[in-house]
Structures are given as C-alpha cells and as structure tokens.
C-alpha cells in the first residue's frame, strides 16, 4: 500500500489547548517558520497515522471567529478561502474547551459553512467531572453534523481516537449546521444568483473581510453587492446572534451542567491574584524570583561551560599541528562558540518562566491588574505581555503587541519595548556585574549581584514607562479604542508544552544568533591577527629592539609586549584607535569600542568579541576564562580597564542604546514606515551615550 499524504489544520479559539493537541500529535516533529512576507508564526508538524497515512499538521493562529481583526487571524481566513494553497486542509480539526463550549462553537459553525470536512475536538475533558458537566455526544454530533472526539491532553486521552478519525475524514459530513443567510434573504438570494458556483459564506466573507482571495475578482463582487459599512456591520451582528441562538439551543439539550457538583478553584485564585494588595505583591514577587533565578541558579552551569571551553581551546592548541588555522580554531572559533553556549542556561530559564506564566493563565490577570495603571502612560494592560516577553527578545515581543486594539497604545508599546532588558543584554550585564560588584549577600539572602541585575531591569522598565509617558503627551493621534481580554481558566502548565517551547526558543537562539556570533568571531580573529605589512610583520624586531634599549630580559614580558604590539597594529587595532576619540569620554578603551560597535549586529556579541580580542592579545595558551581575561586587562599605568566607573558606564550604555538591527527591521515592518525605527535609533542611542558619559565622568 502506498503512503498517502494529507493536510490537517488545527483551528480554535486561544486558550483551548490547541497547541497541546498539536504537540501530542506531532511530538518534537515540528517546524516553526513564518508565513511568506509576514511575521506570523507558522507551525507545521508531522504525524504518522494508521493505514499508512502521513499527515502534515498545521497549527493555525488562535482566532475567535472568521471575522478577522488582526493579521494573525487573517492568516486563518486566507488559507481557508484559498483552495489552491499548498496547505489547504483536507480536514479541519476545531479544538474547543469543554468549559467554554458555547463560545468556542461559534468558530466551529463558521468553519462548517465553508464545507470543509470538520472534526470537533472537545478538549480538557478531565475538567468535566469537577465541573459537573455531562455531554450528550450522539445528540451533539447529529446537530453539529460532525464527529466529536473527547480529548484530555493532560491525561493523554483521545489522541489515538483523533488520529483514527482524521484517517476517515472522507466520511465526514460537509453540510453546514445552520443556515445563516436567513438574516437577509433577499440580499443573499441575489448574491447566490450572481455567483452560482461559489459558496455563499465564502462570498460573504470576501465582502466583509480584508483578505486576498485569488479565485474571485473581489472588486466585481464589491461593486455590485456593496452595502454601507454600518449596514454590513449590522448584518455581521445579526449573523453572530443567529449563530449563538443555534448554539444555545443545541447546548440546552446536549450539555448538562450540575453546578452543585462544581468546585470553584478559579474564583478563589482570582480573589487572591487580582487582590488590590496581594495581587501586586505576588506579581512583584514573581518578577523578583525570575531575576534571582536567572542570575543565581544559572551561575553554576555557566561557570562550568566557561571553564570547559577554556580547557578545550588549550587542548586544541596543544594537539593540532601548529599553524594559522589551528590559531583560528583555538583563538577564534572555540571562544566564539563558547560565547554562545554560555548563555543557554540563562535563556532557557527566562523562556521557562515566560512560558509558565502564559500557559498557567496568570498573564491575563496581570493584564487585568495593570491596565488602569498602564493607561496613564499611554499604554494598555495588554502592553504588559510585550513588556514581559521583551525580557526574552524584543522581536517576538513587538509582534505580540498586535493584539492591542488601539493603534496609539500599540505604537507606543512597540516604540518603548526595546528599552526592556532582553536576553541578549543579559550576557553583557552578567559579565560586567561579576567584574565590578562584589559577591556579597544582603541580609544573607539576596545576592548583591542579583540585586544589581534587578535594578538594571527596573531601570529599563522605568525608562520604557517614562518614554511612553512622553510619547503619549507628544503624539497627536486620534483613535477609537476598545479593550477586550479573555480571562482563561487557571491551568497547571503541561510539562510537554513548556519543554517544547523552551527547547525550540533556545534552539532558535543558539542556531540563529549563534551563527552571527560565530561568523563575527572568525572575522574579528582575522582582523586582530593580521595587519598592514609594515608594522605588523616587524612587530617582533621592533619590540626586541625596544627591550634591548630598556634592558628588559624577562621573556614573558617581552612575549606579552609583542602580542599587544601586534594587536595594536592589526586591522582591528587601527579601526579601534580611529573610533577611540568618540568612546574615550565614556571610559572605554579601543578594544571595548570594537565590542560595542560589533554589538550592533547582536548585543551578546560583546562578550564573544572581547574574548576573541583578548585571546589573540595574550601570548600564552594556558587556560583562561573570559572573566579572568577581562579582569586582568590593565591600562599602561596599571589601572584596571574594567573599573567601577567604566563598568557602570557600560551597563548604562547597554541599558538604553538601540543596538539591534533586527529589532529596527521588525518595527519598520509592523509600523510600515522607516520613521519610527529611525526615531528609536537616534533617541535611544543618543540618550545612552549621554547617560554613560555622565556616569563615567561623575564616578571616575
């Protein structure tokens, strides 16, 4: 029997556990990418089904209905309307939450109108008993004209049954479960007569939505069937009411809820978590825990990784035949890779926390608690999500601002999010803090270093709020506003979901940013170990000459002198010296300058760059960690390069500067203009320069 390929689309409201079903079906067999041209995440997975059928499973963005209000939702409609799309599903699986069937079924009835074979998954069925819910499945299947699969991803129940059902997709009914055209019979009759070969509901969606639809000339439809905007809106409302009537009637018979049996953990938790004092205290406590753990718990694996790579570099140098390429490996590539791997523990921790906060349903409570406060600064409660996920990476954070309905609030959120300390700044902070802040504990509990890190995070957050306030006052934008946020039920995060999320995100960091860091370290090594012929080749004789005059005989001293003379006259030394006048007032030498400049490709490059420059600059191959090398760096007069004033100046510069090309690119994309990213670049970097300047001049 030959292998057959089918495409399955998972569709559902947000918070129905759609992604859990996806993870259960595909395991780690998934690819995350983007839809062409837009930055909506596209998740495609693969699953082996019975009867030798292989399924491509598409996890579509969560949507409340087929009336799109964001580009994420547009993706769903565009796919479902375009039969020629490579990913047009053979079968749609609509995932619903048993506790929220009424609302979840709205989308289901719309999908049914598209006449795609549809399976209804009722998820979280482990909640039925505690909530006193019973379902009449045969009745519901008959009314909804579908097959129902009861699933509990938490207990791992129903997935095999779902697979079996998918295989038999050809036997599914494609009949709509209600006739929505009764809302305006005359209008829909006319429409049907004009386009007899098209689905009525499809036509209706084309008329009301802003989607690309290849098969039909939408202008033709629009011109002959145009209605005023408010008439269309009224019809859409009538349609929604009609659908709810059908759903409410169906569930009146098909679903019984015995509230006497219901235990209500949700309202108890809500009372505490949204309490006017405890609510904020708990939120603050959680933030504190996150920052402590990032700094404290990840220090052990980080030191281990640092040491391992130092050992590895020394080993490579000793074992490989001596030569240029061996130098590249031991001084360029190994420290370069080390500079990436070392951040895995911190980044994994960060994504772990963010993922748990999202999965558990707590994030919505924070949105609820913070909305009024944030509004004062021109933000929305929903800005909390971008601001918190900005601690991981500004790019997905700026994209997550999409669900803010008000354009002004959304714009301000996108403009200030890059102030939030992202995971790329973390390595820079971590190493500088370790150099300038003593390893002490406050009250025997909080580490002083951890507290400093927290202050830096607060500084970034404070700056974000402050600039939002300024922007709110100065931007003259009139927008109609509304705000709706779903408050999902509390859930214990599923280990599998969290683990897959953490692994995927960490992998993206290592292989994405990692490649840039590695490429840059190869180039930096080359620039640091080669130079214009004249001075560079003669380095040895010049230094020896000088040593003779000064009557220096210490071999170590002479070797050191040769290395640093070489570095100074290498290409990188020449570039560094030429930018030194600009950065000197901030307390940086030319080596730090090079690191700061290369940070514009990716901030975390800073540490790797310094590691590469210093390892080229030191003559001995004996094992040394990045931190030790930085600590040992001194000016000719014996003063430490990484002293307190320089350290603080660097921390402040990295806290405020807009140093990320990719973030600028995403802001351009989301705002559709170069104006906003350029404003960000100039203002943030200018502000960073000034604060770093003041800090160094005051502290030195």
């Amino acid at each position: 029997m030959s292998i057959q390929n089918i495409t399955v689309a998972l569709i559902g409201n947000p918070n129905t556990g759609k992604t859990s079903v996806f993870n259960q079906l595909t395991g780690l067999n998934q690819q995350v990418g983007n839809y062409p041209g837009i930055t909506v995440e596209k998740k495609l997975g693969f699953s082996k089904l019975p009867n030798n059928i292989k399924a491509n499973i598409l996890d579509l963005p969560g949507t409340y209905s087929l009336n799109a209000s964001s580009i994420d939702e547009n993706v769903v409609i565009e796919l479902l309307l375009n039969k020629n799309d490579k990913l047009y599903p053979d079968v749609a699986v609509v995932v619903t939450d048993v506790e929220n069937l009424k609302r979840n079924l709205l989308l289901f009835t719309q999908i049914k109108d598209l006449e795609i074979p549809t399976i209804l998954v009722i998820n979280m069925t482990d909640r039925m008993k505690p909530k006193g819910i019973t379902l009449d499945i045969p009745y519901l299947e008959e009314q909804l004209k579908t097959k129902i699969v009861l699933v509990s991803t938490r207990k791992g129940i129903g997935i095999e049954e779902l697979k079996k059902q998918i295989v038999e997709y050809k036997s599914l009914s494609t009949e709509p479960c209600l006739n929505a055209s009764v809302i305006d019979v005359e209008y829909f009759d006319k429409l049907r007569k004009a386009f007899p070969n098209q689905l009525l509901y499809k036509l209706w969606l084309v008329i009301t939505q802003d989607v690309n639809f290849l098969n039909l000339d939408r202008n033709e439809i629009r011109s002959s069937f145009t209605k005023s905007h408010s008439d269309l809106k009224r019809l859409q409302q009538k349609e929604t009411i009609k659908r709810y009537q059908f759903i409410n009637e169906t569930l009146k018979i098909g679903q019984k809820i015995d509230t006497a049996n219901a235990t209500d953990l949700r309202s108890k938790l809500d009372k505490v978590l949204t309490h006017k004092i405890f609510g904020y205290a708990i939120f603050f406590g959680i933030l504190l825990l996150i920052f402590q753990s990032i700094f404290d718990w990840s220090s052990v694996p980080m030191e281990f990784i640092d040491q391992t790579f130092a050992d590895l570099a020394a080993y490579a140098k000793n074992q490989l035949p001596p030569g240029e390429f061996t130098n590249l490996i031991s001084e360029g590539i190994i420290p370069g890779i080390g500079g990436i791997v070392i951040f895995i523990p911190q980044i994994a921790f960060l994504f772990l926390f963010i993922s748990v906060l999202e999965e558990s349903g707590y994030m919505s409570r924070v949105v609820f608690l913070m909305d009024k406060i944030m509004r004062r600064y021109g933000l929305s409660g929903k800005s909390v999500v971008p601001l918190i996920s900005g601690t991981a990476c500004a790019i997905p954070a700026i994209m997550s601002a999409r669900n803010i309905e008000n354009w002004k609030e959304r714009l301000i959120t996108m403009l200030v999010t890059p102030f939030i300390t992202c995971s790329a700044r973390l390595p820079v902070y971590a190493i500088i803090i370790a150099l300038i802040i003593p390893e002490k504990r406050l009250l025997g509990l909080f580490s002083l270093q951890g507290a400093t890190l927290m202050i830096l995070y607060l500084l970034g957050f404070g700056m974000a709020i402050f600039s939002a306030f300024i922007l709110n006052k100065s931007l003259k934008l009139k927008t109609k506003s509304y705000f709706v946020v779903e408050m999902p039920n509390y859930k214990l995060p599923l280990f599998k979901n969290v683990a897959i999320n953490v692994i995927e995100k960490t992998k993206a960091f290592v292989f994405g940013a990692g490649k840039i860091i590695l490429a840059l370290s190869v180039i930096l090594w080359f620039l640091g170990s080669h130079g214009p012929k004249k001075d560079f080749v003669k380095a040895e004789s010049i230094v020896l000459e000088k040593a003779k005059i000064e009557k220096q005989t210490d071999a170590n001293y002479i070797a050191d002198e040769i290395s640093s003379y070489k570095l100074e006259h290498s290409y990188i030394g020449i570039i560094g010296k030429s930018i030194e006048p600009i950065i000197r007032p901030l307390g940086y030498d030319w080596k730090i300058g090079i690191a700061v400049v290369s940070s514009f490709a990716a901030r975390e490059v800073f540490v790797g760059t310094l590691a590469t420059i210093y390892s080229v600059g030191s003559h001995n191959s004996e094992e040394t960690t990045i931190k030790n090398r930085m600590e040992a760096e001194v000016y000719p007069d014996g003063k430490k390069v990484f002293n307190f004033a320089t350290g603080v100046s660097l921390l402040l510069f990295y806290a405020f500067a807009m140093q990320c090309i990719s973030t600028l690119a995403i802001v351009k994309k989301e705002t559709n203009s170069w104006k906003w990213p350029l404003i960000q670049l100039v203002f943030m970097s200018g502000f960073a320069y000034i604060t770093a300047l003041i800090a160094f001049q005051v502290l030195k």
């Binding site: 409340y64 209905s65 009336n67 209000s69 506790e99 929220n100 069937l101 009424k102 609302r103 709205l106 408010s230 809106k233 009224r234 859409q236 409302q237 929604t240 009411i241 709810y244 409410n248 809820i257 309202s267 809500d270 009372k271 949204t274 309490h275 006017k276 609510g279 904020y280 919505s364 949105v367 609820f368 608690l369 909305d371 009024k372 406060i373 409660g381 309905e405 506003s481 509304y482 705000f483 709706v484 946020v485 779903e486 408050m487 999902p488 039920n489």
Partner: protein, 78 residues
Amino acid sequence: MKTTVDLLPIGAKATILNVDLDKIPLKLLEMGCLPDNDLEIIQIAPLGDPIYLNVNNGSHLAIRKETAREIEVEIHEK
C-alpha cells in the same frame, strides 16, 4: 432594575438587554455580549477599571469601563 454594566458591583448577576451596536466592537459580541445572554461581575480591578465578567455562562473576559457603559442590563433580584 435597568442599569449599565459599569455600575454593577462585584458579584452582581444580570441579563443583557441591549448593546450599543455602533460603539461595541464585533469581537465583543462574538465573545458572547449579546442581548438575552446572562452576565456576572467576577471582579473589578483595584483602581475601579477594568471589569472582569463571566458572560453567557463560560466566556470570561475583561473590558474597560467605557465599553461597559454601552451595555444595558437588567439586574437579577436576589
């Protein structure tokens, strides 16, 4: 008694009579804020806004006061 959602206290239950269709976004209707559906005030945020509702027995959402003002309801007597 007729009133609007922004004036209800925590714990109040009511039936939606009318929503101002020009001021309420479609998305809110799709989440269940339709005439004849029931709603309950679960919580009001510490600063009096937003309001956390359970609409149509299961759809939990939070809306701002300015939106709540446009939803007319009939309070259930206790």
